[in-house]
């Protein structure tokens, strides 16, 4: 059993660089990978520029965003002791997106440093806090999901409204960009914007990993095991908001990764909510990278939205969840 798990983790680890190679090899232009790699970072040939300035940052951003979403989902599920929780469902993503939309379209430009991410995280945090307050402390799964859906719908409507009044000719189309997510045309600048916030998120969740473990037994047991402080849930929420908010600010909201990934990999870490964080980050990165490879290779008039691809993968998973529940196992 344990050996089997180790093999699976090893497979995931090995698959990531392979997928990265796949992503670097995918694109509308055929590129001589080996010579472009040999030319290095500062290569001036168009092959090298395409590889180092276009494909690599996009692939790494997919990894980063996927990791943030996977880890955020694992933390959310651990904190709420609920396998149906995910950052997007609890409004974190749409909160971040709304803040980003307000800032970008009515405020300063894209390249104004960390303010965008900071605001997005503020948005993510307030949305999650609103859901938490609305549902009440120690709320049942049903009430929490209900509150999440309500806040989420409201925030999505606000995004659409804000974009409608935005001084942009592409308002309605931009709504889709934000709500379905995209990694197209992202470069190193966005990657470096998101990176510190993901790091803060990882750090916050690293310090709360044992709280998540103890919380598997319930709030009272966790408190008796030395995790009484209200700082722990706050730190988790901050970690999720930081990682997911940073990701959403550069890539828009991408659903289902945060929900599906922790589910899939939970057996690989013997259900341990702490190790689940890291394995979910790994699997989320892999899933989003594969989804982006699909997006890149999909031929169409418009680029396929990556949120649509993850939903394609995520929705059947939901069907499967319902079917197992019908067989009377749980839920």
């Amino acid at each position: 059993m344990l050996k089997h798990n180790k093999n699976a983790v090893f497979l995931l680890l090995a698959a990531l660089p392979l997928a990265l190679l796949g992503a670097l090899g995918s694109g509308p232009v055929s590129v001589d990978l080996s010579s472009a790699l040999a030319e290095g970072w500062s290569g001036q040939s168009s092959d090298a520029v395409i590889l180092w300035q276009l494909r690599l940052p996009r692939a790494l951003l997919a990894i980063l965003v996927g990791a943030a979403l996977g880890m955020g989902g694992a933390a959310m599920q651990g904190m709420l002791r609920n396998p149906l929780a995910e950052p997007a469902l609890l409004g974190v993503s749409s909160g971040a997106a709304l803040a980003a939309v307000l800032f970008l379209y009515y405020g300063a430009a894209w390249k104004s440093g960390w303010l965008l991410q900071a605001l997005a995280i503020g948005g993510a945090f307030s949305a999650a806090a609103a859901v938490w307050l609305l549902a009440g402390r120690g709320a049942s799964a049903g009430r929490l999901v209900l509150a999440g859906v309500a806040i989420n719908a409201f925030l999505s409507a606000l995004i659409a409204l804000a974009l409608n009044y935005a001084p942009s000719m592409f308002a309605m189309q931009e709504v889709v960009f934000w709500l379905m997510g995209s990694l197209a045309n992202r470069g190193w600048d966005q990657l470096f914007l998101a990176l510190p916030f993901l790091a803060v998120g990882v750090l916050c969740l690293f310090f709360t990993r044992n709280y998540l473990r103890a919380l598997a037994l319930g709030e009272d047991s966790a408190a008796s095991l030395g995790f009484q402080s209200r700082a722990y849930p706050f730190l988790i929420l901050l970690g999720i908001a930081s990682a997911v908010g940073g990701a959403v600010a550069v890539a828009g909201t991408i659903g289902f990764v945060g929900l599906v990934v922790p589910h899939l990999v939970r057996p690989l870490v013997r259900q341990d909510p702490a190790r689940l964080l890291w394995i979910s980050a790994l699997a989320g990165a892999l899933l989003l990278l594969l989804a982006d490879i699909l997006v890149i290779n999909f031929v169409g008039a418009q680029e396929l939205r990556i949120g649509a691809v993850t939903a394609f993968i995520g929705a059947p998973f939901f069907f499967w969840l319902i079917l197992t529940a019908r067989r009377g196992q749980w839920l």
Binding site: V49, K111, A166, A184, R186, G187, W188, D189, Q302, E303
Partner: protein, 277 residues
């Protein structure tokens, strides 16, 4: 029906003038002109006598489209027949698309509605300019624009050509058959976009094509994810070396007004590029 009286007077005066000047224009000089279309708004504001304009669409007053101040007496409309009827226009200009229902209603109610064809190519643009002249008469700025365009088009095309590609919002590029493509060709550029009409172009393709000139389109004043490609750091070397040109937003909204300046600027740009090489 007192409104008819001044019009009749005007008509007689026009006839007299026409007899004296032996004008070829079949056009009447209208003095209560309304427009149902943003481009036609701009044409009227630029070329017609401000006193002759009765109504323009509200878009012309909107911050993102306003190019010229709107005279105080001009009423703004949202292209609805009931807004225009009380203004008693003697000429309503409509575009080929949009506001069709309002135009039909007005026509049915006996209002003089003239449809101006849209222009997506140089040929259509020349037809459009002729249509303007036919309905508005030989307005001096209009004639000047037509002359300038003919002059530019009559110039022999440059022998030393450069290459260019257009990267518009949402990774759209303009291929053969489009006005933008024709302007590039006339200015001495080979458009590297191999496709016909509008097509998608990725940043990778832009880099791989290695154009001499990278042509952006439209304003970047306001943020939109649609402009993300144009802001990508990979294009920085084009911007740093001055090998970019931005087609004015006006060219897509109302090419009749922008075509001459744009073509001239593109020609100048090509010369500068060739000289630098």
């Amino acid at each position: 029906m007192s409104a008819h009286a001044p019009r009749r007077n005007f008509f007689w005066r026009q006839l007299l003038l026409g007899a004296v000047l032996i004008l070829t224009a079949k056009a009447q000089a209208y003095e209560r002109i309304a427009s149902l279309n943003l481009c036609l708004d701009q044409v009227l504001l630029n070329w017609a006598e401000p006193a002759d304009i009765a109504s323009l669409t509200w878009l012309s007053a909107a911050e993102q489209y306003r190019s010229l101040p709107i005279p105080e007496h001009v009423q703004l409309n949202r292209a609805r027949a009931e807004e225009l009827l009380p203004l008693k226009p003697d000429l309503v200009l409509a575009g080929q698309y949009g506001a069709q229902r309002a135009a039909e209603r007005l026509q049915a109610l006996g209002v003089n509605v003239v449809t101006i064809p849209d222009a997506y190519s140089l040929e259509q643009l020349q037809q459009q300019l002729d249509a303007f002249e036919a309905v508005l008469g030989p307005l001096p700025p209009l004639q000047k624009q037509k002359r300038a365009l003919t002059q530019l088009l009559d110039q022999p095309t440059a022998k030393q050509r450069a290459s260019a590609v257009i990267l518009s919002a949402n990774n759209i590029t303009y291929g053969s058959g489009m006005l933008e493509h024709q302007l590039l060709q006339r200015a001495g550029f080979d458009n590297l976009a191999s496709s016909q009409g509008l097509a998608r172009i990725s940043l990778e393709e832009v880099i791989a094509l290695q154009p001499d000139l990278l042509v952006f389109y439209g304003s970047e004043q306001h943020f939109a994810l649609a402009y993300l490609a144009a802001r990508h750091p990979v294009l920085q070397r084009y911007i740093d070396s001055g090998r970019t040109y931005t087609l004015p937003k006006q060219l897509s909204l109302c090419p009749a007004l922008a075509v001459v300046d744009t073509l001239q600027q593109l020609m100048d740009k090509r010369e500068a590029l060739v000289k630098a090489q």
